[in-house]
Amino acid sequence: MNNEPRTVAVLGAGTMGSGIAVVMARAGHRTIMYDIDEANLRRGLDSVHGFLDHSVKLGKLSQDAADTAKRSLSGATDLRELAPSDIVVEAVFEDLALKKELFGRLDDIVSAHTLFHTNTSTLSVTGIASGSRHPERVVGTHYCNPAPLMKLVEVADGRHTGSPAHEATVAFLRGLGKTTVVTKDRPGFIVNRFLIPWENSCIDALENGVATRDEIDAAVKGSLGHPMGPFRLLDIVGMDIHQQVATRLYEQLRDPRFFPPPMVERMVAAGDLGRKTGRGFYEYDDTRLFGS
């Protein structure tokens, strides 16, 4: 099923849903973005168009290809409109009950061959699949943000995922130009599983006076070859998001390395969330808060 055009439904038109919709539409798949919130759906569709236009401006995509991608994109706020989907990619809020319920409702709408992909970061694929009567067709596909630019997709099967669904998923993702790695249905898969304790240990080192913010960022970027130091990265991710992801992983793993260090809670309490509030580990003046 590699390169054949399919009908792909993307559930949730937020950050990830919009990015994934770009990936699908750009690859020639008929793409339906679905959101319960009309305004969010609008914003998501706009952001897909914006991304495609920007790609044209950068010379990364032809005007023709962008137009074709836009024509293959539509929006829906009624789940029944997703009936023709060959694949649904779920990217709604990180809430187990919500994701389960959505898959359960889709059971009665989509076909008997439709694949259910979940983009969850921290929940169990098996848990989400338990909301469907067809867990054999549910596969974890964890994209990275921004999805149109990041090549990696982590693929994780739930306990009941069937090998046909797994194989078809890997082939489909490769057809999108993605690099897949196969991992297990374990909290955080690979990327978040190692990123969160790493960031926590850097925050601890700072709080414990091992070195300064600038020294740690300089050493990690300059000598480990990371694209940026941990504090620059945390400022982009947002301390609130780091706290949420870390706490969710800690709750499942009960391993203190995942628990957000006290400094995280203080920064969140103070509203120093990073770039988006103008101050995190660093200060910024090009933000909504301090901009005009």
Binding site: L152, T179, V181, W198, A205, V210, G222, S223, H226
Partner: protein, 247 residues
């Protein structure tokens, strides 16, 4: 102004010592690298020790180097995780001794950690820091004498964690590295990095940090010991996590 170093001696020409000698030499610094015959260190005003991460071996080598180079020379260690203070305490001139910790690969990494022990003289720290800063593309960071100092203190638990997760079947070696390289943009995945460091060098360092702290994040994962016992040391032996996939 701190006094510059005119001639650098290096003891232990392995992964780090050999690379540091080549780097300094390319930068126009006169260098002598030795392995067994330390007499060639006479005349050096800085001796950098880069022998394996074993306390007794380092102390023996450093004491001999101190005797050959004389009381005017500064002595430094590239230790990743032993205590600079404890090594210095076993030497005749601990005030002229400090940590001088380069990173791997030596020619492309930017920071060099200068680590004073409790007895290190400020002048010794200043001279080493000025020396590192004078080298092309290098920047000195003066950091405290804690297990692993700055970068190794962060790196060792992460590498141990990856080895354990690999042994626990989270993913294959290549997939783990690819996920981290593509997902996080790190230049080198953790298992390829371990192969480059040397599994024996990492085992010695993380054991030293574990002994010093009792912190289980530094405890060597069992697979690491098995790999070293089997002679699978990474790039240097042609067989590690990534250099040959099966283990």
């Amino acid at each position: 102004m701190s006094e510059k170093f005119e001639r650098v001696g290096i003891v232990g020409a392995g992964t780090m010592g050999g690379a540091i000698a080549r780097f300094l030499s390319a930068a126009g610094v006169p260098v002598t690298a030795v392995e067994t015959d330390l007499t060639a260190l006479a005349g050096a005003d800085l001796v950098v020790e880069a022998v394996p991460e074993k306390f007794d071996v380092k102390v023996a080598v450093l004491a001999e180097a101190a005797a050959v180079a004389g009381p005017g020379a500064v002595l430094a260690t590239t230790t990743a995780a032993l205590s600079v203070t404890e090594l210095g305490a076993a030497l005749p001139g601990p005030e002229r001794f400090a940590g001088f910790v380069w990173h791997n690969p030596v020619d492309t990494t930017r920071t060099v950690e200068v680590v004073p022990g409790l007895c290190t003289a400020p002048e010794t720290v200043a001279r080493l820091a000025a020396f590192a800063d004078s080298l092309p593309g290098k920047e000195a960071l003066v950091v405290g004498d804690r297990p692993g100092f700055l970068l190794h203190g962060l790196l060792m638990p992460y590498l141990n964690d990856v080895v354990q997760a690999y042994d626990d079947g989270l993913a294959g070696a290549e997939d783990l590295d690819v996920a981290i390289e593509l997902g996080l943009g790190y230049r080198t995945g953790p298992l390829a990095m371990l192969d480059r460091i040397g599994l024996d060098a990492h085992l010695d360092a993380t054991e030293a940090a574990y002994a010093a702290t009792g912190d289980r994040r530094y405890a060597p994962p069992p697979l690491l010991r098995r790999m070293v016992a089997a002679g699978r040391l990474g790039d240097k032996s042609g067989h590690g996590f990534r250099t040959q996939e099966d283990h």
